[in-house]
């Protein structure tokens, strides 16, 4: 007696494919590959998960609407980051959250402790997200964005420079100050 092998029905196969893959098969792969990076940038730029969810949705919807304009001169990642950065900036302006930007370069450098070589110690991993958010919010927007972009290992300095419309040398210089500022502010959150 041969055992009956259950063949997956067409309905089962459709269910196993994501809703996005059903409506936009070519775009679903792009979402799968880059959504985590875009969501993380939005989360740390906007500071709230619900806002980051909305922003991620809006960024990918904009990208889908304008996908024909993507000329391949940059990577999808860079293009999506550009949309995300502009979107987050617009949102923050709309929410009148600009008061945070009182943390200009001078302020940060004045408050930077000299001991920045020692490692950043974290005792409670569960609190890490809150500490990172609190730290990033104390930094100028540009520092915050540069750190988030450079932390993405898929982004080169040159790509970050192109994305933020400045030279690679300028990025390196600002990153040096951004790292120091981050370390100083991070220690204050202990």
């Amino acid at each position: 007696m041969t055992a009956a092998v259950a063949q997956p029905s067409m309905d089962d196969e459709l269910e196993s494919v994501s809703a996005l893959a059903q409506v936009a098969p070519d775009f679903a792969g792009i979402y799968q590959e880059h959504s985590k990076a875009i969501f993380y940038l939005c989360l740390r730029m906007l500071g709230e998960e619900a806002r980051a969810e909305d922003a991620t949705h809006d960024v990918f919807l904009k990208a889908w609407r304008h996908r024909d304009n993507f000329e391949g001169r940059s990577s999808w990642r860079t293009w999506l980051y550009r949309i995300a950065i502009n979107h987050c900036r617009n949102l923050k302006q709309t929410w009148a959250e600009r008061h945070i930007s009182t943390t200009d370069d001078e302020f940060v450098l004045q408050n930077t402790v000299p001991d920045t070589e020692s490692p950043l110690r974290v005792l409670e991993i569960k609190e890490l997200g809150e500490r990172i958010q609190a730290t990033l919010e104390r930094l100028p927007d540009e520092y915050r964005m540069l750190l988030l972009l450079v932390a993405d290992e898929e982004m080169s300095y040159d790509e970050v420079a192109a994305l933020t419309q400045q030279s690679s040398d300028a990025v390196r210089g600002k990153l040096h100050r951004a790292r120091k500022a981050f370390a100083a502010e991070f220690r204050k959150t202990e």
Binding site: A19, A24, W64, R121
Partner: protein
């Protein structure tokens, strides 16, 4: 000579031992990062995009996308 009575008592942890065990527990969770980027990478690894975002995106695209060719619109073919 009176025999000293020794009562068995379950050994209780001293405050010092409790403190030490708390410190060890914290040390297990402790982690050191060499740079800001390392902290952010570690943080990002633990973040997942909620599935609702993809579902909402699919729904938004479905509303905007033209219907696939050959689906529906039979009446259109009839009259055009």
């Amino acid at each position: 000579m009176k025999k000293q009575q020794v009562k068995f008592q379950p050994r209780q942890q001293t405050q010092e031992e409790l403190d030490e065990s708390q410190t060890l527990k914290k040390a297990e969770a402790a982690r050191e990062f060499a740079s800001a980027e390392e902290v952010l990478r570690f943080d990002a690894e633990g973040i997942e995009v909620p599935a609702e975002v993809e579902e909402r995106l699919a729904e938004s695209i479905r509303k905007e996308a033209p219907p696939p060719e050959g689906s529906g619109g039979w009446w259109r073919k009839m009259f055009l």
